[in-house]
Homo-oligomer: 382 residues x 2
C-alpha cells in the first residue's frame, strides 16, 4: 500500500535510536535526552490538579485561551522587550506543533531554509515534508558564530526562511548582540522569514537578547517559537506558543486547528499558573549554570574543547583536540564509549557537525562527577 | 510575505463563524457545537489530579505509553471484535491529529478521497493541504445509505482513500451490517485505504458494528480513528488514537513525532483511568438516546423529516418537507432562525447537503423543549 516516499525516507532520529539501545545496559548514565530532570513548579502542579477536579475541561478556543495569550504577550514584552498583544500569540501543542504549523504555512516546494550548524534535529524532517530544502550553514571556521557576512553568502533567490536557535541546542551558545543587530538590518524588508526558536531563552547564564526586541523592524518576517517544556519543566504537558504578526497568525491558526484542534485546556491552566507565579526562572538557570560550568571545566581538563554555553542544558564538545581520537567519527566515538563505560551521549553528526559530541546536563553533580570519571578512564584506556 | 495559497484558501469553518456571531445575542440556545455537555467521569478527573501532583509528567514515549496502547487494543478487541495489539495503536492529540498525521502519510498529489455526504467538515481541509482532492458522494436519493454499488460508481484509478464516519456527524446514522460486509469484500485487495472514523462509536443507541471487526480482511488498508473526547467527555484533554497495521503505524508515528512530539502525558493517565473504570458507556448513550429520540419526535411533529440517529448526539433534519421553507437555502434558514428566535444551529450545506440543518443535542430536556417551542413559533410566524 502507498506511503508517502518523503515520509518513508525520514529516519527515526539518532537520538531515539541510541535511546533504544540503552535498555541493554544496566548501569547507564543517560546524557542523551533533552528533558529537564527538574520537576514542574509546585504551583503549576496544584493549579492543574485543581482545575482537573473543579473546572469543566472543554475545548479551548482555537489558538489558545485569550487569558493565556494575553499573559504570554505581556511576559514577552516585559522580559524580552517585545511589542506583542494577545492576537500575536498562538498557543500550540508544545513548540513542536508551533514549528510544524508555521513551516507548513510559509514553505513551498523547492524553497530553501537556512540553518546554522550545529542544528537541532527536528527542523529538517518538517522542512522535507513541506517539499522544501534545508541548507545547513557550516560555521565551524568562525567558532560557530553566525555573522551577517556568512548569512549573505548563503542567501539565494530561493531562500524563504532562516531558522535560528539561541540559546542553541546542542551547544548552548547565543548570538552576540552586535551580530543580531546587523542580521536584523540585513533581513529587514527582504522577502525572507526569520524563525527564532527561543525554547531555551528562560535558561540563560547571562542576559539573553531575544529577537522579539526587533519585532518592530521585522514585523512581517519574524516568528518566535517558545513554550513551557524547558522553562518550567513541563515537557509532558505539551504546551508551546508562537509570536508573529496577526495576519500571519490567522493563517497558521487554521493549520493548527485542522491539525490538532487546540492544545490541552488543562495544560493551558498550568501555563497560566507558570506565568502568574513562576515567571522568574533565575533559580532554574542557576541550577543548570552551575552544572554546565562544572562539566565544561572538567571536560576541558580531559582535553576536550567546548563551545561556551550561555544557556540551555547542553555541552557541545570536540574530542579532536585529543590526539588519539582525532580521526574517529562521532558515531563510532559515542557507540564505543557507551559499550565500554555505559555513558550515553549524542554524536555531533546528528547535529551536522563531525568530531563533536553533545552531553545533556540533566543530572545533578554526583552523577556528573561519575560521568567525568568514566570519560577519564575511557580516554586513558585508549 | 508568502503564505501557502492552499492554506490561504481554506476558510474558517461555518460552525466557527456562526459560533462567533452568538455573542451578539443574549438568550441564545446554542445547538451548534459538537461538544458533550456532560462532564468527564469522576474517576478520570481524580486520576488526572492525582498524577498532576504525584507523578513526574515527562515526555511520553512517542506514539503513546505502552500501557495505554495495550489497554486501547484490548478495549477495541473486546468491545468491537478487533484483532489488535499495542503496536497497532498510535496515541494522538485528539482524533484530529490522528486524522491529520494519517492523511499526510498516505495521500499524494491528485489522489482522490471519497466521502459520503453529509460529511464532517474537518476532512476536506486536511485533504486539500495534502494536495489531494475530495470527492463527495451524494447519497440523498438512497436515504443517505452508502452501498457497494454506489461506491463502485465513484471509484477511479485515482481513488486512494475512502473516509466513513459512523455513527455519523452530522446525522447519527450508521451503515447496515450487510452493506458493510459487501463494502469490505469489494475493497479487499484493492489499492485503496479505508479510514473509519469511529469517534462516536461509544455513544450508540443500538448495537454498533465497527470496521475493526473486519481488520483481518482489510489488514493493509484499514485505519480506525477514535478517541476519548466524545466517549468520556474529555474534549479539552486532547486524546485520541488510531488503529492500523504495524508497518503503516510506524510511518504515521514519524509524522506524529515531528508534528506534536506526543500527546499530553497527563491526558494519557486520564485515558488509562477511563478504560480501567469507565469503559462501559451505556449510561452516557442512554442519556443521549433519550434526548435525541425526543428531539426527533418533536421535530417531526413540526413537519421536519429526520435521518434516524443510531448514535452520537446530532439530529440532521430537512425542512423541505415544510412547504413554506421548501426553497430556502440552509444558510439563510439558520441565520433567520437565529435572528428571530436566538436558536443557533448549523446549515446542512456545511456538510454538503442543502435543505437540511444539524441540531447538536448537547442540552438536557428542558432546554430541548424550549428549542422546540422556539422552532414552533418560528414556523408559525412565517
Amino acid at each position: 500500500m502507498y506511503i508517502d516516499p518523503i515520509i518513508k525516507g525520514i529516519e527515526i532520529s539518532d537520538i531515539r535510536k541510541i535511546h533504544e539501545r540503552l535498555s541493554a545496559y544496566k548501569n547507564v548514565i543517560n546524557m542523551t535526552i533533552g528533558e529537564p530532570d527538574t520537576d514542574a513548579p509546585q504551583k503549576v502542579k496544584e493549579a492543574i490538579a485543581y482545575h482537573a477536579l473543579n473546572s469543566p475541561i472543554k475545548y479551548s478556543p482555537v489558538g489558545g485561551m485569550p487569558e493565556l495569550r494575553e499573559k504570554i504577550a505581556k511576559f514577552y514584552n516585559e522580559k524580552f522587550g517585545g511589542n506583542y498583544n494577545k492576537d500575536n500569540v498562538l498557543v500550540t501543542v508544545g513548540s513542536t506543533e508551533g514549528l510544524s504549523s508555521t513551516l507548513k504555512t510559509i514553505l513551498a516546494e523547492d524553497d530553501e531554509v537556512l540553518i546554522p550548524t550545529p542544528a537541532y534535529v527536528g527542523y529538517e524532517p518538517l522542512i522535507r515534508v513541506a517539499r522544501a530544502k534545508t541548507i545547513f550553514m557550516d560555521l565551524e571556521e568562525n567558532n560557530f558564530i553566525l555573522t551577517e557576512k556568512i548569512l549573505e553568502k548563503y542567501i539565494t533567490s530561493k531562500t524563504k526562511l532562516i531558522i535560528l536557535t539561541y540559546p542553541n541546542n546542542p551547544s548552548g551558545i547565543t548570538l552576540p548582540k552586535e551580530e543580531m543587530i546587523k542580521i536584523v538590518k540585513f533581513l529587514k524588508d527582504k522577502e525572507i522569514y526569520l524563525l527564532s526558536d527561543e525554547i531555551y531563552a528562560s535558561i540563560a547564564f547571562e542576559k539573553f537578547t531575544s529577537f522579539a526586541k526587533y519585532y518592530n523592524e521585522l514585523k512581517e518576517q519574524l516568528i518566535v517559537v517558545n513554550g513551557f517544556s524547558k522553562s518550567h519543566s513541563m515537557t509532558g504537558h505539551r504546551l508551546g506558543y508562537t509570536l508573529a504578526n496577526e495576519k500571519l497568525q490567522a493563517q497558521i491558526k487554521k493549520i493548527s486547528q485542522y491539525t490538532v484542534t487546540s492544545a490541552s485546556t488543562l495544560s493551558q491552566y498550568g501555563a497560566i499558573a507558570a506565568l502568574d507565579y513562576c515567571s522568574d526562572t533565575t533559580e532554574l538557570s542557576e541550577i543548570y549554570k552551575k552544572r554546565v560550568y562544572y562539566f565544561v571545566e572538567e571536560l576541558e581538563k580531559l582535553g576536550f574543547k567546548c563551545l561556551k554555553p550561555k544557556g540551555a542544558f547542553y555541552v557541545f564538545a570536540t574530542y579532536k583536540t585529543i590526539d588519539k581520537f582525532k580521526n574517529v567519527g562521532s558515531f563510532d566515538f559515542i557507540l564505543d564509549l557507551l559499550e565500554k563505560t555505559e555513558l550515553a551521549i549524542i554524536p555531533g553528526i546528528t547535529f551536522q557537525v563531525e568530531g563533536y559530541v553533545r552531553f545533556s546536563i540533566v543530572h545533578d553533580l554526583p552523577v556528573l562527577e561519575e560521568a567525568i570519571a568514566r570519560l577519564k578512564k575511557y580516554i586513558e584506556s585508549k
